[in-house]
Subunit: 365 residues, 2 copies
C-alpha cells in the first residue's frame, strides 16, 4: 500500500533482529506539529500509538493526541483534566516546590495524588495511500466521564461482524481501566462502558469468534507480585469477560524482560493467530515482537520470537518525550506484508512494512 520510497532500518544490524524492517522514508508520518490543539492555551506534545483500521478504500488511524496546558509560570506545572460534573476540561497548577516526584515525564506523584502531565484524546486521520493522512479537526472520542478524567489513550480497533469495536485505555483517579466503543462509519461512536476494570490495559479483541466465543488479550497488573503478564479471556457479548487465563509473562534477560502487553489486534494465519506484542527491558526500551497462538485454542502459545521484529533505532524512535520506544496499537495485513503503524518515543507516529514471511521466520516457522 505504501508507494513512498522506504529505507531499510538499522535494527537488524544493531540488535540481532532476525526480520527485515522497511521503514517509510517519510517517517515520522505524523508529528505533534501536524495537530492543532483543542484550545488556544494548550499545546500538543505527542501524537502516537494509533488504532488502525481499513475502512472502505481508506486507512483510518485513531490518533492518541496528548496535550497539556502551555506552561507560562516557571514555578508551577499546570495540568488539565476532565471534570465530570461540569463536563469540561479544567486546569490546575501544581507548585514545583512541593514534595512531589516529577522524575517520570508522564506523571506527577504527590503524597496525596498521582496526576498526569498530559491529557489524551482520540482523533481520526484518513489516508488513501496509507502514508499521507488527512487529520480531522474534531475528536472521535475524548474524556467524557469519571473513568476518563485524565484522558483516553491507545485505541485498538477490531472489525467484528461489520462493526468496528474500539477499545481504549481510560485513565482517572479511579485507576487505569479499558473501555469499549463501537462505530460503523467512524463518524458516530457509541460507548459501551468499562470492560476491564483497574488496573488493566493493552486490550486487543480477536476479530472473530472462536467456537462461538469472543476472545481478548489483556494485561492486568498485580501490584503484590509485581506482575505485568498477558492474559486471555472470553466473552459471550464483548461486554462481559471471564474465564481469565494467564497466557505469557516476561522473560529474564530478554528484550521483554520487564513488561509485556498485547499491541496489535491478532490476525489469523495458517499456522495460528499471530500477535505482535510489545516488551520493555529494564531500561524501559520498548520493542515489538511476535507470538503465535493456537488457531482453535488461543490460550496456547505455539511459538514466541526470541528477537523483536522492530526495535527503536532511528533518531525519531530513540529521542522524544519518552525515548527508546516503538509501540504499536495496530497494523494492516496487506499482500503478505504487515503495515505497522506505531508510536515513536511517545511523540510521533511512524510506519514500517515487515513481510509476513519474515515475521513467521522470527517465530521459527
Amino acid at each position: 500500500m505504501c508507494s513512498t520510497p522506504a529505507h531499510r532500518g538499522d535494527c537488524c544490524k544493531r540488535s540481532n533482529c532476525q526480520v527485515n524492517v522497511f521503514r517509510c522514508g517519510d517517517n515520522p508520518i505524523i508529528k505533534p506539529n501536524d495537530i492543532k490543539p483543542s484550545r488556544d492555551d494548550f499545546e500538543v506534545i505527542g501524537v502516537f500509538n494509533p488504532g488502525v483500521a481499513r475502512f472502505s478504500k481508506e486507512v483510518i488511524l485513531l490518533l492518541r493526541v496528548a496535550e497539556r496546558p502551555i506552561q507560562r509560570d516557571p514555578n508551577v506545572v499546570r495540568v488539565a483534566f476532565h471534570d465530570a460534573a461540569s463536563d469540561a476540561i479544567v486546569t490546575k497548577d501544581i507548585a514545583k516546590n512541593i514534595e512531589a516526584d516529577f522524575s517520570d515525564p508522564r506523571l506527577i506523584v504527590t503524597p496525596n495524588a498521582t496526576l498526569l502531565t498530559s491529557i489524551s484524546h482520540l482523533k481520526p486521520a484518513r489516508s488513501e495511500d496509507g502514508v499521507h493522512f488527512r487529520i480531522e479537526q474534531d475528536a472521535a472520542l475524548a474524556a467524557a466521564n469519571e473513568y476518563e478524567s485524565f484522558g483516553i489513550e491507545d485505541a485498538r480497533i477490531s472489525l467484528i461482524d461489520g462493526t468496528y469495536y474500539i477499545d481504549y485505555v481510560a485513565v482517572s483517579p479511579y485507576g487505569v481501566s479499558t473501555a469499549l466503543a463501537s462505530t460503523k462509519d467512524f463518524r458516530t461512536f457509541e460507548r459501551h462502558g468499562v470492560i476491564f476494570c483497574p488496573e488493566n490495559k493493552d486490550v486487543v479483541l480477536f476479530p472473530e469468534k472462536i467456537h462461538g466465543r469472543y476472545y481478548a488479550l489483556h494485561r492486568p497488573v498485580s501490584s503484590l507480585f509485581s506482575k505485568h503478564d498477558i492474559w486471555i479471556s472470553e466473552s459471550p457479548d464483548l461486554l462481559c469477560w471471564g474465564n481469565h487465563r494467564r497466557l505469557m509473562g516476561r522473560r529474564d534477560n530478554s528484550w521483554d524482560e520487564a513488561k509485556i502487553g498485547a499491541s496489535a489486534v491478532p490476525f489469523r494465519t495458517k499456522a495460528g493467530w499471530v500477535e505482535i506484542y510489545h516488551g520493555a527491558d529494564r531500561n524501559n526500551r520498548y520493542c515489538l515482537g511476535a507470538v503465535l497462538l493456537d488457531a482453535d485454542q488461543p490460550w496456547k502459545v505455539i511459538a514466541r520470537a526470541d528477537q523483536p521484529i522492530l526495535a527503536p533505532e532511528t533518531d525519531y524512535e530513540c529521542d522524544g518525550f519518552f525515548s527508546n520506544v516503538v509501540f504499536s496499537c495496530g497494523l494492516i495485513l496487506d499482500q503478505e506484508k504487515l503495515n505497522v503503524y506505531y508510536g515513536v518515543a511517545d511523540t510521533s507516529i511512524a510506519y514500517a512494512q515487515i513481510t509476513l514471511d519474515a515475521t513467521m521466520a522470527s517465530l521459527g516457522l
Copy 2:
C-alpha cells in the same frame, strides 16, 4: 439461632459504635487447635474468614484454614506451595540471612519473588445451633492449579436459584485473583475458573438477579493510583463480568480511611441492599460497617454508616497473627438479626449478633 449465653461487646463504649453488638460467650468459636493439620509436618496457624451458608437445617461454614510447615531450623523459613505439574504441596526453605523483607507476617518479599508464609484451603464445618461446629476432615476446596499455588482464601457463598456459588481468592505468583466454584450439597464441588483477574479480591455475588442481570461487588487494585475501592459489575451468567463501575472508596480520617472491600453477601431489605463491608485505617485496624445500595440500581449508594458496627475490642480480636482485625465473609439474617461469623486477628473465628434495626440505625434509617 444462638442459645449460648452472650456478652455485650465493649465496642460501643470504646469506639463510638452506634450499634449494639452481642458477642457469643463461647468466642472464639473455632480456633487453630480445633483443626487437624493436613499433614504431620504442618501446623495450623489460623482458621478464619469463613464463608457462610444455611443448608437444610444446618449452618455451614467454609473455613479458611491457614497452615505452614513446622519450623525446625532457626536459620530458614520453610514455606509451602502447590506445584501444579505434580499436583502436590511442596516445601521450600528461605534462608533468613538473605536480603528479604519479613516485616509483614503474611509475606516474605525477596528481591526476586514474593512468597506467602502460609497456605490456605477451605474446610467445611457444620452446626445445628450455629455455635458448636463439627469440622470435617477433608477440605472442600484446596489449591489445585497454577492460579492457586499459594492457596485459596476467604470464601463467600451465595445461594442463587438453588445452587450455592462459592467465590474465593486464588493466590499465586500470577497474582491475587478471584475464582468461582459451585455446589448443591456441600459434598461435591465444581470449579468454574477465574472470574476476576488480578489484582482483585473481596468479591461478593448478589443472591438474585436484578432486572435480569447478576451483580457482584469486587475490589480491584490500581497500583498506579494506590486505589483500593469497591466496584460493582454485572453478568449474564456469573462467569463473565462487565459494565464495571466504581461504587465507593475510602474516606479520609475515618475507620475506613485506608482500604475497603465487600465482606458479607449483600441482603435485601425494604430500604435496599445492605452490604456489610470491611474497612481498614492507617494502622491496619479492620472494622465492619454497613452501606445501603439502591434495590433496583445497586450501583447507587443510598447511605453509608459513619461508624462501624463491629470493631476489634476483645482480646481475641485485638491479639493474634495479624492483630486488631475483625473480618467477615458472611452472615445469616435470622429473625431480624444479623448472625455474623468473622475472622479475628487472622487467627480464629468468632460469632456475634447484631440486630437489623441497629444496623439500619447505623445507616441513619
